[in-house]
């Protein structure tokens, strides 16, 4: 464990990312205290530029942009984390079963995974949200459905190598039951790369959520950064602050998560240092 922290802290970027992310998470948690007024509520004259009565200005209905960003942090992070968790659940289950059991089970699951990777993911996500009608659940489901395949592949690869590891064979010989082997012997050893991947999935999910909301597919009852940019698009020329600040919030958050993810990668998988790539 000490090694872990040491390695993590060696990565200065990761440390910065962690600090930023912590701040963002704190903001998200305390948003109702920092900004007790409903972010949907008109407080002043519409389209006030930043620096006046409202630090980051007001939008077309006179709502406080800062309040929107503070409350938006909740929904962006929440959707990011929730989708990553759901995607990880699907992915790890599929990957674990495929990798551990092999044979025809593996064949079938690999085909399914490949199939899902063939579908153009963003259009698919749009489609899913539209079909399920925009809302928190549908967005989470849509993001999870398009992001699980890489996780499944990783989990499968890990489980495949681990299942032929000698300590797993030893457990088989000791008469340990199969579910127990998967849960106690294999999963804990596959968890590090999965954690790294999961953290990066959060970042991707936040980006996807912002793009969906930007296109008008967000949850209409929850303010999110992507929604703010999308809603301000008609006036972005003369009210730049409506697009720029929420955009910065997204960049900062995603950047911080990526940095932390890389730090985790360096710390958890020293042998995999620097390997990772994703698609937006």
């Amino acid at each position: 464990m000490r090694d872990f922290f040491q390695r993590f802290c060696e990565n200065r970027g990761a440390l910065v990312g962690l600090v930023v992310l912590t701040v963002i998470i704190l903001v998200a948690i305390t948003a109702p205290l920092l900004s007790p007024v409903d972010p949907w509520r008109s407080l002043g004259r519409p389209l006030q530029p930043p620096g006046g009565e409202f630090a980051l200005g007001t939008d077309m209905l006179g709502r406080d942009v800062l309040a929107g960003i503070l409350h938006g942090a909740r929904i962006s992070l929440w959707i990011g984390i929730l989708s990553a968790v759901v995607a990880a659940l699907i992915g790890v289950t599929m990957g674990a079963i495929a990798g551990f059991f092999g044979g025809w089970v593996d064949d079938v699951l690999v085909r399914i995974t490949e199939f899902f990777q063939t579908i153009p993911s963003f259009i698919f996500a749009i489609l899913l949200v539209a079909i399920l009608t925009p809302g928190l659940t549908s967005i989470v489901v849509a993001i999870a459905v398009v992001t699980w395949p890489p996780i499944a592949r990783l989990a499968r690869a890990e489980f495949m190598t681990l299942r032929s590891r000698e300590f797993v064979e030893a457990a088989v010989l000791s008469g340990v039951s199969r579910p127990r082997i998967i849960l106690r012997e294999v999963l804990p050893n596959a968890v590090s790369p999965l954690i790294v991947m999961g953290s990066l999935t959060v970042a991707t999910a936040i980006l996807t959520e912002s793009a969906l909301s930007f296109l008008g597919l967000g949850d209409p009852n929850r303010i999110s950064w992507g929604y703010m940019i999308g809603a301000a698009r008609t006036v972005f020329r003369h009210a730049w602050w409506l697009s720029v600040f929420p955009g910065l919030a997204i960049v900062l958050t995603v950047l911080a998560i990526n940095l932390v993810g890389e730090g985790l990668n360096d710390a958890l998988n020293p042998h995999l240092k620097g390997r990772r790539v994703g698609v937006q």
């Binding site: 590891r165 000698e166 300590f167 064979e169 030893a170 457990a171 088989v172 010989l173 000791s174 008469g175 340990v176 039951s177 127990r180 106690r184 012997e185 804990p188 050893n189």
Partner: protein, 556 residues
């Protein structure tokens, strides 16, 4: 420590120090060594893993990884290689000094044809072309077949021995004055090792060059070396002519290393026929690569018609080189793999083990346990030693407290402190881990233990200790031991009987003494002939294991 002072050394190393990065287990990888290589001689550097022998070689080549600092002097051709402009050093590498690495597969660029890789040596030392004839001649001189075709092949097409020959060809392309060979035969089978060593000897003789050969195996030293330096923890503890050191080692560490080399003294055959315990008859397994829609499948006969008998308290060795099917056979016996055909019977069970399904097998599993090759891969790094050793007991319904008591007993049996139970595997050395693995195998009080190369991943001094432990346990518990190994010396030392396998088939079977001293099959004879240093190693003297034991204690 007689030093020959008659000829000027080709390389002379003075006060070489290489520091390790902060946080390593010691400060210096190489801690002030003096060493010289004489022209036309072969110097062997012997040491166990982490002794700093490879680092020394890398320092000569200028290949020490960036953050590490090299201090001291390495004199060669009028240069101090420890402090030289990189461009000058580059000109020396490959032309005046060649190097061969341990793992020929990893050391060759997988996506470049071998001829091309050799050609680079010429091209980038400004040798005018054309190169084709030179490359063909070079490959031919390395004893490679059909060099004209072979130079157009990618490394993965070649066998391990061929790859190493290509590596050597590359290193020798420009007739260097010095060849550094870093464990050049460790990754190879014993018969191939013999060939490569011969090739090196011949090349050295023909080209009148010097070789610095790094090895952990005194057998190799005996086979090829003129002089030897023994390294331990970054220091040279003994140095001298090979025959002097072999027959009259001065330093206790050298003595330990020598003592740990298994000699060809077979274990005396058992007096009486032991009670039968496990018998395997006509076991066969064929691997088929799955045929795609449009590609035909291929077949590999991994195990063909292998039979053997194992009695109570008896040790039977299965010996073979890589690809002989010995490990596959071992896994079939413990039912980690299924066989295509065959009959495996266990005393007291009226059924062919190979025919039982998972549920029928469950109660029998505990009677046949296994010890694995890799002490690192065989212990789950995320579980404590207690959990690892007790997992079988727990799975068979033993309560936690009782399991704890048993685990402590078992740890005591394999000479580990009971406090080890609460630590994780990464707190232990390779030898200790292998003991934990043995304790785990013993936990269910099996009748049979199948040990798959249990010592081949260990340093020699530790090998001996673990082998003694096996012998000891077997004596005390009367277990039948099926011992899989590639090393005839090891097999002879601890096995009552031996079967020799090649390409899935048994070529010879008999008592250790019969197989070793009166081999019937020519392959067995080849194996025996290939044992490095055979006949040149001194007979063992003194209580080797005691010394080794002391050694291991200090390491841990």
């Amino acid at each position: 420590m007689g030093q020959d002072t008659t000829s000027t050394p080709l390389v002379s190393i003075e006060g070489l120090r290489i520091s390790l990065p902060l946080g390593s287990d010691r400060v210096m990888a190489v801690d002030g060594i003096d060493l010289s290589v004489k022209p036309g001689k072969i110097l062997c550097i012997v040491g166990e893993s982490g002794s700093g022998k490879s680092m020394t070689a890398h320092a000569i080549m200028g290949l020490v990884p960036k953050p590490l600092k090299v201090e001291g002097a390495i004199h060669f051709d009028g240069h101090n290689l420890a402090d030289i402009a990189p461009s000058v050093h580059r000109g020396i590498r490959g032309s005046r000094i060649g190097m061969v690495f341990q793992e020929p597969m990893a050391a060759l660029n997988p996506v470049m044809k071998v001829g091309k890789q050799i050609e680079e040596v010429f091209r980038f030392h400004n040798i005018p072309g054309p190169y084709d004839d030179r490359i063909v001649a070079l490959l031919d001189s390395m004893g490679l077949p059909e060099p004209e075709l072979l130079r157009h092949a990618y490394p993965f097409r070649l066998s391990g021995g061929q790859r190493q020959r290509v590596m050597i060809a590359m290193a020798l392309a420009l007739d260097p004055a010095l060849l550094i060979a870093d464990e050049p035969t460790t990754a190879l089978d014993v018969t191939t090792q013999k060939q490569i060593l011969n090739l090196l000897k011949t090349a050295q003789h023909e080209r009148q060059m010097s070789i610095m050969l790094i090895t952990h195996d005194f057998g190799v030293v005996a086979e090829i070396g003129d002089e030897v330096a023994v390294m331990q923890e970054g220091r040279i503890v003994e140095r001298g002519a090979v025959k002097d050191v072999l027959h009259d080692p001065q330093h206790p560490y050298t003595q330990t290393l020598l003592a740990a080399v298994p000699d060809l003294s077979p274990r005396p055959a058992a007096d009486a026929e032991p009670a039968p315990l496990l018998s395997a008859a006509n076991v066969s397994k064929t691997y088929r690569t799955r045929s795609g829609w449009f590609t035909p499948g291929r077949e590999v006969h991994a195990v063909q018609n292998v039979s053997l008998q194992l009695g109570r308290g008896e040790t039977v060795g299965v010996v073979g080189e890589s690809g002989s099917g010995k490990s596959t056979f071992a896994r079939i016996v413990v039912r980690l793999l299924t066989a295509d055909e065959g009959d495996v019977r266990l005393d007291g069970v009226d059924a062919n083990l190979l025919d039982l399904d998972t549920r029928q097998l469950a109660p029998l599993r505990k009677r046949v346990q296994m010890v694995f090759q890799d002490p690192f891969a065989s212990l789950n790094p995320r579980r404590t030693v207690f959990e690892i050793v007790a997992q079988g007991l727990r799975a068979h319904g033993v309560g936690r407290r009782e399991a704890r008591r048993r685990v402590e007993e078992l740890l005591d049996l394999v000479a580990l402190d009971p406090s080890a139970a609460d630590r994780y595997p990464n707190a232990f050395s390779g030898g200790q881990r292998q003991r934990i693995g043995i304790a785990r195998a013993l936990a269910l009080e099996p009748d049979v233990i199948v040990a798959d190369e249990p010592v081949s991943a260990l340093d020699v001094s530790i090998q001996a200790r673990v082998l003694d432990l096996f012998a000891d346990i077997q004596k005390r518990l009367g277990i039948g031991l099926l011992f899989i190994t590639h090393d005839l010396r090891v097999a002879a030392q601890i096995c009552d009987r031996v079967i020799v396998m090649r390409k899935g088939e048994v070529v010879e079977a008999g008592t250790s003494a019969q197989v070793l001293f009166d081999p019937q099959h020519e392959y067995t004879r080849l194996l025996i002939d290939s044992i490095p240093g055979r006949g040149q190693m001194p007979k063992k003297h003194g209580p080797a294991t005691a010394a080794a034991e002391a050694m291991e204690r200090t390491r841990e």
